[in-house]
Symmetry: C2
């Protein structure tokens, strides 16, 4: 049976359509929102789907309004899907207190700790519920999925791809948190969502996961050298070393002078969409 979906609004964009939707989520036990860009080609044939996971404080809107990605989705023939970054108004005490935890900061994990576990099931939402919904309602090729993201969403994209190598054919990231167990943002989130036992954190740490999983295709990462979070929160060299150890092909591009903002994403998003499209259309 088809799940209900409400269209909030939509706009024509580069010949296609940006739409914003809400729906009652089973995983997250409440209303969730996401955005979809359907390129012109989707009117005549089903297309691969490329998921974008956003960073801390973002909603389903940021990527669609700031990344300039639609022109390249139209050019390379992929559907773009951008979910929200957490449940909202879940009614959990303290959910709005921090900008880097709770609302806007779901970290793409399935929380196991009270009180978060009642709603914060973003890993299941992104990897299972949302793809099912997309396949039901949009002209998608469900067997051709890629995933990318920014910062916390880069972490999410790498984790989703490394844990589901058959589901996601392609993966890339902008300034991702690659060693979430070892940096303050990740440690704060994981302690609260997953508990103090760090063994449970490994299944959400890209640098740990890549040691035991190999992807068929290379991973692309762009990281700005002027990113103020580079040394303390992002540490791409940890992921690079892990990829070397496990012989996972990685293209890590240190982009001179770029910071952590959407201007990094806008500048290199064509490279990323081309990277995905070349793999997804094989």
């Amino acid at each position: 049976m088809s799940q209900p979906l409400s269209l909030i609004n939509q706009s024509r964009c580069f010949g296609g359509t940006v739409g914003f939707y809400s729906h009652p989520s089973v995983s997250c036990n409440g209303l969730m929102k996401f955005a979809v860009y359907l390129p012109p080609r989707s009117r005549s044939e089903p297309l691969p789907v490329l998921y974008f996971l956003s960073g801390l404080t973002c909603t389903e809107e940021n990527f669609m309004t700031k990344a300039g990605a639609q022109q390249f989705a139209a050019k390379y023939g992929v559907i773009l899907v951008a979910p929200d970054t957490s449940p909202r108004s879940a009614g959990i005490p303290g959910e709005e207190d921090d900008w880097d935890f709770g609302t806007g900061a779901g970290f793409y994990v399935d929380a196991t700790e009270v009180p978060w576990r009642s709603h914060y099931q973003m890993y299941s939402y992104v990897t299972q519920e949302l793809p099912t919904l997309i396949a039901e309602h949009f002209p998608a090729q469900p067997d051709r999925q890629g995933i990318f993201g920014h910062s916390m969403g880069g972490h999410g994209a790498l984790v989703c791809a490394l844990r589901n190598p058959d589901q996601y054919r392609s993966v890339s990231a902008f300034a991702p948190i690659v060693a979430s167990s070892r940096v303050p943002w990740g440690q704060k989130a994981f302690t609260n969502y997953l508990g103090a036992d760090q063994e449970a954190w490994r299944s959400y740490d890209a640098s740990a996961l890549v040691l035991t999983t190999q992807l068929k295709h290379p991973i692309l990462i762009d990281q700005g050298t002027a990113d103020t979070f580079l040394e303390k929160q992002l540490m791409p060299q940890v992921f690079e070393q892990a990829c070397t150890r496990s012989e996972q092909p990685l293209t890590l591009r240190m982009q001179e002078g770029y910071d952590h903002s959407y201007y990094l994403i806008a500048t290199f998003v064509e490279d990323h969409i081309r990277h995905h499209a070349e793999i997804l259309w094989r």
Copy 2:
């Protein structure tokens, strides 16, 4: 003597730099902000300057974050400058009360009425103070200026160009208010900023101005057919008729299905920047 300018922040973008600045404005009697995009070529040679005037509720940020214009400024070799849409925190009673008047809604006029005239001198700010500042601080070719804008800013761009045909070589607009004296947004603003005498409004009404001024180059306008403001506030046919009467070349493109949002701008901004660059580089 050079005017003081403070850099608020800057980001690398498409090989160039987006910078946000503030400065004490003489025209507006207080602090004003604007954004500048310097493309890579500006490091080796001075470039033409293309001003973008934003619409109601916008700041100097919207165009730089949402339009995706930098890639095309880099491609075609023009500097982009986006001022704020009004003075802020001027201390005028009621300045924050309305979304379509006062703060965020300067309408690019020099107010003559109390209390607005003490600060709301956006026409002088945009056409005189800001270009002087840009010429002093950036690698600009001050004799090669173009101007474009969106909605209220499309009105501003047309008015600035039609009143200063030697200063602005090129002009274009997205969904502009072309007959500001005849529509609710313009009538509200003009009554308060300029007074009840509608004769004073003519010098800020593009459809009136074009009857007595002819520009050397064609005007380009993109207007979405699904724009909810089309019939009541925008009325491009009024401007089209005036251009026909005065033999002013106009390319008015009615874009099927597009609305009033930045997705219209993002989709067609390359066409606009190319339109300006081709004229500015002659």
